[in-house]
């Protein structure tokens, strides 16, 4: 799924300044919804998007280590400028959606962003 389509499904806003065209160039293979970074580090296997309600610099760091390409903050959460700047330096795309985590994940799954079980 193109990241631009995921953005549309989630009615999300871009926080890191990319254009729609740039988002359409990013292909998502999977997504993961979690507020627990330890679990993200333990179980995420395919490059994709992280959906989370947690807002701190370690979310960016975790995504960086896992080669996650985009993070979508749920429930309308918006990180501070320092976090946005850190993401930009790491070429990470940040989005925010008003949907809660469960609904946001459900919408993406229903629209075909299904993670293959290993």
């Amino acid at each position: 799924m193109q990241l631009s389509i995921a953005k549309e499904i989630l009615n999300a806003q871009i926080l890191t300044g990319e254009t729609e065209k740039q988002l359409s160039d990013v292909e998502l293979l999977s997504a993961c919804g979690s507020d627990l970074m330890s679990d993200v580090l333990a179980f995420v296997k395919h490059q994709g998007m992280l959906l989370t309600g947690l807002v701190n610099p370690q979310v960016i760091r975790t995504a960086e280590m896992m080669d996650i390409c985009a993070i979508c903050f749920v429930r309308g959460k918006k990180p501070g400028d320092d976090i946005v700047q850190l993401a930009k330096e790491r070429n990470l795309i940040l989005l925010t959606t008003d949907f809660p985590l469960y609904i946001a994940c459900g919408k993406l799954y229903k629209n075909g962003l299904v993670c293959k079980e290993d």
């Binding site: 970074m37 333990a42 610099p57």
Partner: protein
């Protein structure tokens, strides 16, 4: 890359927000050296877990990284409270992290098990009230 490269980073234990700086730097160096993405990912995750542990449990310390053509060796050293029961700490889900740390998204008891899963060698030695040394090796070939 023919020679061995040595890197040293001090880990600031007072500021959780900058935890991961060392792991991030090593990841960039490995990329520049042309190490395969699979190996970089293993090193980055294991090292980041250890770095987070060093900050949340031991108030910081230092890490030495040795990159050779055959392997990447990472040694974390701290002067923290030490681990009372290493066998227990290796179990998934076991954690002594505070509520505050859990609210930051960590402390689920996956740190040491993750380090074990992503490395080829993991040695943990610890003395209570003296400190902990975590040695990890990832083979390149």
């Amino acid at each position: 890359m023919d020679k061995t490269m040595s890197l040293h980073y001090d880990i600031d234990g007072k500021d959780f927000s900058i935890a991961g700086e060392a792991s991030s730097s090593v990841k960039i160096v490995l990329k520049q050296l042309g190490v395969s993405p699979e190996i970089i990912r293993k090193v980055a995750i294991a090292m980041y877990e250890a770095e987070i542990n060093s900050v949340i449990h031991a108030y910081g310390g230092y890490v030495d990284v040795e990159i050779s053509p055959k392997s990447i060796k990472i040694v974390f050293v701290d002067n923290g409270p030490g681990i009372e029961n290493i066998e227990l700490a290796m179990q998934e889900g076991y954690s002594t992290a505070t509520e505050e740390i859990r609210n930051l998204g960590f402390g689920a008891g996956m740190g040491l098990p993750n380090m074990k899963n992503y490395t080829d060698i993991l040695n943990v030695s610890s003395i209570v009230d003296v400190g902990t040394t975590v040695e990890m090796v990832v083979f390149i070939k």
